[in-house]
């Protein structure tokens, strides 16, 4: 894949600049709406990552790396897993079974809500980070 | 009983214990010993007629049973062995080199030491090495 970061792609660049925020917001929507409707961490993560990938396709790897450095990605990957696993551990610490969200809030319903929310967030963060780093990996090696 | 010339050690320098056995060198004394043995045998034989023995095996009570058995068995064994030797004796190196028969014992495992009368005289028996 060749990265073009030239002036003659001005149209693409402008449109991309316009698109990226919407993609991000859509990603967040899918993420946080996941526990009520279609969606969830996996899909949201991929959508979120696609924003960066699009950015990278148009503006080149260097610029994307400046926006989202690989070290941060690695950190995010781990963080996502930690959020997921941490939720599980937290439920255990609160006296329930692993990933038994009932104990997270005063009533089970809220507990389930919070639990799913946290877990999906973890998944989303990790998937985003993994997708982007996959992109980095493929893009940088020829 | 012979070969006094071979001796490098005179009989006088022997230990007291060894001196007690010097009688075997003298033919007379050996003969005397044999007479004593024969006498002893005679006495034992006669005793057999006097003493009543309690026995299990047949013939065991027959007077002279043991005496006869001892004498005959011994003779039979010795003579039989002599005949056996004619059949099976082989030169000493028969199994060589796979057997130790013909070889000398390795020197490093030995401690050959000639009898040294002086040392014995000084230290009395039971010392040395």
């Amino acid at each position: 894949m060749k990265i073009y970061a030239r002036q003659r792609h001005r149209v693409l660049q402008v449109i991309t600049r316009l698109l990226v925020p919407f993609v991000l917001i859509f990603g967040l929507y899918v993420q946080f709406h996941g526990d009520y409707g279609p969606g969830g961490g996996f899909q949201a993560g991929v959508i979120f990552a696609s924003a960066f990938i699009l950015y990278g396709l148009i503006f080149g790897l260097q610029r994307t790396r400046r926006v989202l450095p690989p070290s941060v990605l690695r950190w995010l990957m781990s963080l996502g897993v930690l959020i997921y696993a941490g939720t599980g551990v937290l439920t255990m610490l609160l006296g329930g079974n692993l990933l038994d969200y009932d104990v997270l809030a005063h009533d089970p319903l809220h507990g389930q809500h919070w639990g799913i929310f946290a877990v999906e967030l973890g998944v989303g963060v990790t998937v985003t980070a993994v997708m982007v780093s996959l992109f980095y990996g493929f893009a940088s090696k020829r | 009983m012979k070969n006094d010339s071979q001796k490098q050690v005179s009989d006088d320098s022997l230990t007291p214990l060894a001196k007690r056995f010097l009688w075997v060198e003298s033919a007379d004394k050996v003969r005397l010993a044999i007479y004593i043995l024969a006498g002893l045998c005679a006495v034992l034989f006669i005793l057999d007629f006097v003493v009543h023995r309690h026995a299990y095996a047949p013939n065991e009570n027959t007077p002279g049973f043991y005496a006869l058995t001892g004498f005959l068995a011994f003779s039979f064994i010795v003579l039989g062995a002599g005949l056996l030797r004619k059949l099976i004796a082989k030169p000493e190196d028969y199994y060589a080199p796979n057997a130790v028969d013909a070889e000398d014992y390795p020197e490093e495992g030995l401690n050959r030491e000639e009898f040294a009368p002086d040392e014995i005289v000084e230290n009395k028996p039971g010392s040395g090495s």
């Binding site: 690695r74 950190w75 990957m77 781990s78 963080l79 996502g80 897993v81 930690l82 696993a85 941490g86 599980g88 551990v89 255990m92 329930g96 079974n97 692993l98 990933l99 038994d100 969200y101 009932d102 | -």
Partner: protein, 495 residues
């Protein structure tokens, strides 16, 4: 907290792995990995204590009870395997510090140890989960991290080996997935206990049959059963030696455990062996494994490769025990899993020590190792004796049980084959031992400097494992007792 043990077992390494990635410090990541592994080992020990009397722990994840939710199902059989896995992981991790420092670039240490913990997570998860699909998930976790660990090997071949394993492993995993899919289609459940209950009255026996076949072949690939062992050789040869020691002791054993679980608990031995004649497939491949692979091992010139072949042969023994489908045969299989795990790990650790000092494991160049590295060589020889199955060693315990089980069933030809392969094992171990002890060093290699013994941190875990092996060799009835209980649990199916 005691009732949370199964969850802890999996979560400990799983949480620690990302932490290590965040910390990124070589030493600290090693320390964390080791400590976590030791904790996991302790947890599985506690767990074994809870179930050793024959009771069962069923842990519902998220509070959703069994057929609906996912559960961990722990009984004597898998608590023991979990202990083996976590225990070996701990020991080898302690050992790995120096060995890995030598082979892996310092900047990547954190990745290595994180991968190790993920692998541990996957293996333990596979063992204790009670959900068929979850088996697949954990299998993937462990497989993926294993590919990574193997690729850390110092030579370029490691990448190839890792890739070959990846291809084969993926084939295996997809077979397993397909099998699980068919099972789900046929029965409508994924929970193993539920599966076992529903399979007999399923309406589509063909689907179950196909599922059974796919699962068998898939697991046979992962367990490196004889004709499907190709990935193992290069992987063991080129991986960092600590990884090899860990994998040799655990990875194939876990797959074999799943295989056994499937045969006896899910499908039931009636189905697997009585009705479906599986032992016409398993036993021939087992025998072919320990005969041909032992033979091949004799001719190897690289110590690691020789041991890799021997591993395939030993898997053959375990498989032979499984294919008997009797209490005693299964006991032999289970006890051999443990014993061989310990022995082979020790052997690979000893080889690692040789590698650490000599830089190679070329067998003909190992002359007079005894005078250069006495402790390492002693460990190698002692555990080599165990591998052969000399009386008073662990190998004898398991081989004897196996032979006894075979004789009980009247399979004399198999007994003869085992004895023949033991002779071959004597040949390949004996050859190395002879070289190490007696052969005078050749002029060329004698001119090189004598090696020193490896650091204490490598020797201590090796000897700890060795001592454990010797102990279990002398007091084999303890392991046999647990294994016999495990076999009972497996044969009895789910209550």
């Amino acid at each position: 907290m005691m009732d949370q043990l199964p969850a802890l077992q999996v979560m400990l390494p799983m949480v620690a792995a990302p932490l290590i990635v965040i910390i990124r410090h070589p030493f600290w990541s090693w320390l964390i990995a080791t400590l976590i592994s030791v904790c996991a080992c302790w947890v599985s020990w506690l767990m074994l204590q809870q179930v050793v009397d024959g009771s069962i722990i069923r842990y519902a994840i998220g509070g959703w009870e069994a057929p609906t939710g996912i559960e961990f199902y722990v009984d004597r059989a898998n608590a023991g395997v979990a202990l083996l896995v976590s225990g070996l992981s701990s020991v080898v991790l302690v050992y790995a510090y120096h060995s890995i420092k030598r082979t892996v670039d310092t900047s990547k240490h954190y990745l290595f140890y994180a991968g190790w913990l993920l692998c541990l997570t996957g293996l333990i998860g596979m063992v204790i989960t009670g959900d068929a699909f979850n088996v697949f998930v954990f299998l993937e976790i462990s497989s993926l991290s294993t590919y990574m660990l193997i690729a850390f090997g110092s030579d370029r071949q490691a990448l190839v080996a890792s890739f070959r394993y990846l291809v084969m492993g993926s084939v295996g995993a997809s077979f397993i997935l397909i099998g699980i899919g068919f099972l789900y289609a046929a029965t409508g459940t994924l929970n193993m206990v539920d599966l076992a209950a529903r399979i007999p009255d399923t309406e589509s026996p063909r689907a179950v049959l196909v599922a059974f076949s796919f699962l068998t072949v898939g697991l046979m690939i992962k367990a490196a059963v004889f004709p499907l062992h190709g990935w193992l050789l290069n992987a063991y040869h080129h991986a960092p030696i600590a990884v090899t020691a860990f994998l040799a002791g655990t990875a194939t054993k876990v797959s074999l455990y799943i295989l056994v679980r499937m045969f006896f608990s899910i499908f039931g031995d009636e189905y697997s062996f009585g009705y479906l004649l599986l032992n016409w497939v398993l036993l021939p491949s087992a025998i072919a494994a320990f005969v041909t692979m032992s033979l091949v091992a004799i001719y190897q010139t690289d110590l690691r490769r020789m041991l890799a072949y021997s591993s395939v042969a030993q898997i053959g023994y375990i498989l032979a025990g499984i294919s008997l489908a009797t209490q005693q045969g299964l006991t032999a299989a289970v006890v051999h899993m443990f014993n061989h795990g310990m022995v082979k790990a020790t052997l690979f650790m000893a080889v690692g020590c040789v590698l650490y000092r000599a830089g190679h494991a070329h067998i003909p160049s190992l002359e007079r190792m005894m005078s250069r590295m006495p402790f390492t060589t002693t460990a190698f020889i002692l555990s080599g004796l165990g591998l052969i199955g000399v009386p008073l060693t662990v190998g004898f315990v398991s081989k004897f049980t196996l032979i006894n089980a075979l004789m009980e069933k009247g399979w004399w030809p198999a007994v003869v084959m085992i004895l023949a392969s033991s002779v071959m094992a004597t040949a390949y171990i004996g050859r190395v031992v002879y070289l190490m002890l007696f052969r005078e060093a050749r002029e060329s290699s004698a001119s090189g400097e004598g090696y020193q013994e490896v650091p204490l941190l490598m020797l201590v875990p090796m000897y700890a494992l060795l001592a454990l092996g010797l102990y279990f060799g002398l007091f084999g009835s303890q392991t046999l007792g647990i294994a016999s209980g495990a076999a009972e649990s497996l044969l009895g199916g789910y209550q």
